[in-house]
């Protein structure tokens, strides 16, 4: 397994922020307010900050894991090193499936959003096929084209945030935020756990890492985007707090979109129609990055041709999204994905981190003995 990635496929270190951003921020940013405040209420911004900090710790661990072992700079090789061929490949398969599941959840949640907001009675098979064709087109161009669409998605979402914030201003009630602390630490931590779901996606770094030119330099960028994402979540959460009352927010499924729906600009009103459509670019970028990671994993672990696994994954997503229709099942699947994801980042990554550290310590102790 060659670890040297040819120059023409690599991306510059700072470009890492785009795939990480679209990986993390998905449809979740439109709905997370309700889920986060379920336990901690208006204090959940504290939980959000706690989650953000924990993510930095995990990101730091990721970089340690990926840079510690010479000549194995992606998770597949690391699993092989740590757990041997068979067990390692089993874990690799699980990781690949986890990414496919992530792509599926991203896709399905977005399709549901279209159903709710744009076309309630629409046959979704043609749309799904077209969407996944775009994903195919993006992923088959390699990480570079995936990053390309991620750049656009990031720019579009950054541009859409500015009017969102400025247009909400007249409707805000800053006093809503008071009192500052009226929930217990347990509640706040429970909310933090719920918030973790919104950060899932940065673990694609496990596969992107070897594709970064001088990957060590990308760490500061990765941390930067983590800070920015936390700030973004924080800002939108606080905007929602100041916009809705606590009771109202608990019963609002799409707080961000409802906020957008209030605005009126000279030529358009009901901007949420445009926002839902605009979100499309971001969603295909997110799906692409997950599917790319999955295909890469299949290639490294099982020597599958990426094009074939790409087609298989996309076909699987199309078929299953055709059969899974009702909202409860979708919710169940995304809950499951959230749980798996939380275990993945909070249990698996620290575990691997420990293993790698121990291995490194042993190796460094072994080498002087040889001399």
């Amino acid at each position: 397994m060659s670890q040297v990635t040819s120059e023409q496929y690599t991306i510059s270190p700072y470009l890492i922020i785009f795939p990480l951003y679209v990986g993390m921020v998905g449809v979740g940013i439109l709905t997370y307010q309700r889920r986060v405040m379920e336990h901690a209420g208006y204090n959940s911004w504290v939980s959000l900050i706690i989650t953000g900090l924990s993510m930095h710790l995990l990101l730091w661990m990721l970089y340690k894991i990926l840079s510690s072992i010479e000549d194995s700079r992606d998770i597949v090789a690391i699993n092989h090193k740590l757990f041997g061929k068979w067990l390692g490949n089993l874990i690799n398969l699980a990781i690949v499936l986890y990414f496919v599941l992530g792509a599926f959840v991203k896709f399905k949640v977005y399709v549901e959003m279209i159903q709710v907001w744009l076309f309630p009675s629409m046959n979704f098979l043609p749309v799904s096929i077209v969407i996944l064709l775009i994903v195919y087109y993006a992923v088959s161009g390699g990480l570079r084209s995936v990053t390309g669409i991620a750049v656009w998605a990031t720019m579009i979402s950054c541009l859409s945030i500015v009017p969102q914030v400025s247009l909400t201003f007249p409707y805000l009630h800053p006093m809503n935020l008071l009192p500052l602390f009226n929930h217990s630490a347990t509640d706040i931590l429970l909310s933090s756990k719920d918030m973790g779901f919104e950060y899932l996606g940065f673990e694609t770094l496990l596969f992107i890492y070897p594709f970064v030119k001088t990957p060590e330099k990308s760490q500061k960028w990765a941390h930067l985007i983590m800070i920015l994402v936390t700030l973004l979540y924080l800002m939108i959460l606080i905007l929602a707090f100041m916009f809705f009352t606590e009771e109202q927010l608990l019963h609002t499924i799409w707080p961000t979109l409802n906020m957008i729906g209030i605005f009126e600009v000279p030529l358009l009103q009901r901007l949420e129609y445009m926002a839902v459509s605009l979100w499309f670019i971001k969603i295909i970028a997110g799906i692409s990055i997950f599917i790319w990671a999955a295909c890469r994993g299949m290639k490294l672990a099982f020597h599958f041709r990426p094009r074939i696994s790409l087609i298989v994954f996309l076909a699987a997503i199309t078929v299953s999204s055709y059969f899974i229709i009702d909202h409860r099942t979708v919710e169940w699947v995304s809950k499951m994905y959230a749980n798996v994801g939380l275990y993945f980042i909070y249990a698996y990554i620290p575990f691997i981190f420990l293993c790698v550290m121990v291995r490194k310590r042993l190796a460094s102790r072994a080498t002087p003995a040889n001399e």
Partner: protein, 497 residues
Amino acid sequence: MTVNKKTDPKEIVQLLQQLKQSSDFQTIQPAVGDKQLSISYFKTMIDERLLQSNVILSLQDRALDSDFKQLEDLKTWIPIEDIEITDQVDRIQAKLLRGCAIASLDQDAGRYALIHLGSIEGLRKNNDTENEFSVVGPKVGLVEDLDINIGLLRSQINIPTLVVKEIIVGTTSKTRVAIVYIDDVTNKKYVQTVQQRLERIDYDVIFDTSQLDQLISDNSLTPFPLFLSTERRDRVVYALITGQVAVISDGSPYSITGPSTLFDFFLSPEDYYLPWVLGSFFRMIRIFGVIFSLFATSMYIAVTTFHYEVIPRDLLEPLIFSRRNVPFPPLLEVLFLEITIEFLREAGARLPTKIGQTLGIVGGIVIGQATVLAGLTSNILVIIVAFSALASFATPIYKMSNAIRFLRFPMIFASSIWGALGMFIGIGFLLVHLSRLTSLGMPYLVPIHPLRVRDLRDSFIRPSYQFINKRPGYLRTESTVKYKPGKVKRRNDLDRE
């Protein structure tokens, strides 16, 4: 250069036999002293006055007082610089077909002197730009002759490092194609790529550089032009000094420059001749025009077909009022008008200027007015379509504005199926496609993807000359600085002398 086996003769006799079939191939046999010289040429390819005065006359003059012994004597006897003596058949053939006369002595069979007598009559002398106008700035354009074009470029890039590499492309036309670049600026990788691709071309006749553009482009499955083609000298020179490679070919007034980015197509030389504030403003207007012309009509369809809620109430009334009598769905309505505009453009492009103007009035005003009166389209739509057609012509490079007008149609269809979502599906395809495109191996979307913040300076706006003294980083040029920016002159104090 690939050689056509069937028509390439091996023997000189065979070649002459082939050539004698044409009635413009002539052989004259003037006597020079006691030797019999025979000169053959295409009378359509050479300047016959030159033959009379410089060859035959001077030969006879010299024969009076000295002795003509061998073919080599021609070099000293004839006052023409470009004389070559060879016995290679393919060389003789090539030269003969490029306006040389061949001379041979009877007793020295097989060896020929190639005397260049070529003329470039019949090409236009006027080198004003024909299609890319500007109000401010030079109006010098390239012409159909390669040598004049190279001269034009050299007269503005007055340094010895301007390199012109000539190669022959086209199995039938054997067109001279020149690769032009500045040696200590341009990245050699791009020069090599262009050269390799040009040498690999197997094609019969090269009429225009646009064909080369397609033959050497990275991806032929795209509506976007991957090389910038221009007839303006200032544009080519600007491309050369920023570190791009230019390709010009004989017989074409257009040069192609590459590697180019999407942004290059929306820059106009005029941006740099106007004060930077105005230059930036016009550039932004142009970019806005492109976006508008791409999405305006598909937005109209999306909104009127699916999302009536998006329109504010005050606007809804005039919109419904204007669409009340229209019997078609928005898609047909839009297609009708868009295709009318395309007809007008296509007809106008082929007609002489005066008829074109009349046609514009008939088409634009009469048809537009009549369709609204007849209730075939709503007048709001006429406004939108006319606006977006106008906006698409604001793009300075014709090929790019074609691409943009073409792309409107898929957008229109997508948004007629899935409304705003369809429109963004179209945009999604477009963005993925754009991020996959490369020009000579360089990403087409640079400096947006891969993002290069420093190079973004001269993209959406045209900054003051102080800030654009460096060549774009994405071209990976061998020297980065174009010129040293002058110090900003600022008065320290109010009214201080």
